[in-house]
Amino acid sequence: MSNQNRMIADATFYLVFLKDIDKPHFLEKIVNVHDFHITPLVDCEVKKKLCGCGKNHYYQHIANGPVAKVSNIDTNIAILIATLLGKSQIKYGEHEVIAHSCELADQNINFCLLIDDAEARGFVKKHLSHLTPNMKWTSTFICECNCASDVLLKEECFELIEDMKNANSLRVPEWKWNKVEAHIQSC
């Protein structure tokens, strides 16, 4: 995982830790190790969703930290993908993270694209297949946080997975969680 430490995730990734399961300390641990690039719309959506629930300071701390960066994108390449996605997918910044990944891929920069939306994943696989090797489920990434590095303890991974399963905001299928749990158990 060390050669693939530039992380790109949509708004649901941050919101699941900060709002849905309310475990910001796990996100902090992850962000302290990996180089997260937050695209502008993702930044805006996360702030909007956290506003008024008293959790915004956690996100601000992460977004303003030494590692996570809010990308300053002065072009609008994401619009080329937005035309093809639905409104809710756009709202969570799927088009931005896919477009940003394309830019990094074209520059031969290593990255990891975290996407859980099944349709967005299908779109990438079918039409932008060069991104597929860099695309991961959040669950797979959590698994790697223990099995490929020591960012999270086994128990912490299980705790996260259990909470995320119940929250179901990532819309990760049950079989995927089960597979990841089995893998963490055995690694």
Binding site: D74, T75, N76, I77, L84, Q89, D106, K126, H127
Partner: protein, 178 residues
């Protein structure tokens, strides 16, 4: 004529050179240039598009693709629109010039994305997406009425190619998700 003419011709050559495959039709080329101007604001300033019954339209793009001023004999209009040998050389030169620009990487990605995704659309599928996404560039007409009447079938076709998501299908067709 002037700098804008040159930029328009360069943008056409960049799009044509971004993929070996020819661009299927003039309508597709026009709309792909439009999408480039939306993605890269630098181009938007030089290439004005106006509302038209077939969506955003630029007479200059069409005329300069047929008869370029600065890049004579660069474009072959037989069996689709493609670069000639001379055009391919011009493409390489333009790319070299662009490398100094801070927008170089974004432009390259935009060109690749446009040709990868939008080449796969039929003219009517493209028009439906453009009408829906850029309504201010569309003048109501018999053609737009026809496209909207056929929106369910066109959206189905886009979904079958998996070029749009189910949610986008519902938005375009006015039908619930399949």
């Amino acid at each position: 004529m002037g700098n804008n003419t040159r930029v328009i011709e360069q943008s056409i050559i960049l799009l044509l050179g971004a993929n070996e495959r020819p661009v299927r039709s003039m309508l597709l080329l026009e709309k792909e240039v439009f999408l480039l101007t939306e993605a890269i604001p630098k181009f938007r300033k030089a290439i004005p598009f106006s509302a038209h019954y077939k969506g955003p339209y630029s007479q200059e793009v069409k005329e300069l693709a047929i008869d370029p001023v600065y890049y004579k004999d660069a474009i072959d209009l037989n069996n689709g629109i493609r670069l000639t040998t001379k055009g391919k050389e011009a493409y390489k030169e333009i790319i070299e010039e662009l490398k100094a620009s801070p927008l170089y990487n974004s432009i390259i990605t935009a060109l690749k994305l446009i040709r990868t995704l939008y080449d796969k659309l039929s003219d009517n599928e493209l028009l439906l997406l453009i009408y829906n996404s850029y309504p201010k560039y569309t003048k109501k007409s018999a053609i737009s009425d026809e496209i909207y009447r056929d929106k369910e079938h066109l959206s189905q076709s886009l979904l079958k190619k998996r070029l749009i998501t189910e949610e986008r299908y519902a938005e375009l067709s006015g039908q619930p998700n399949v």
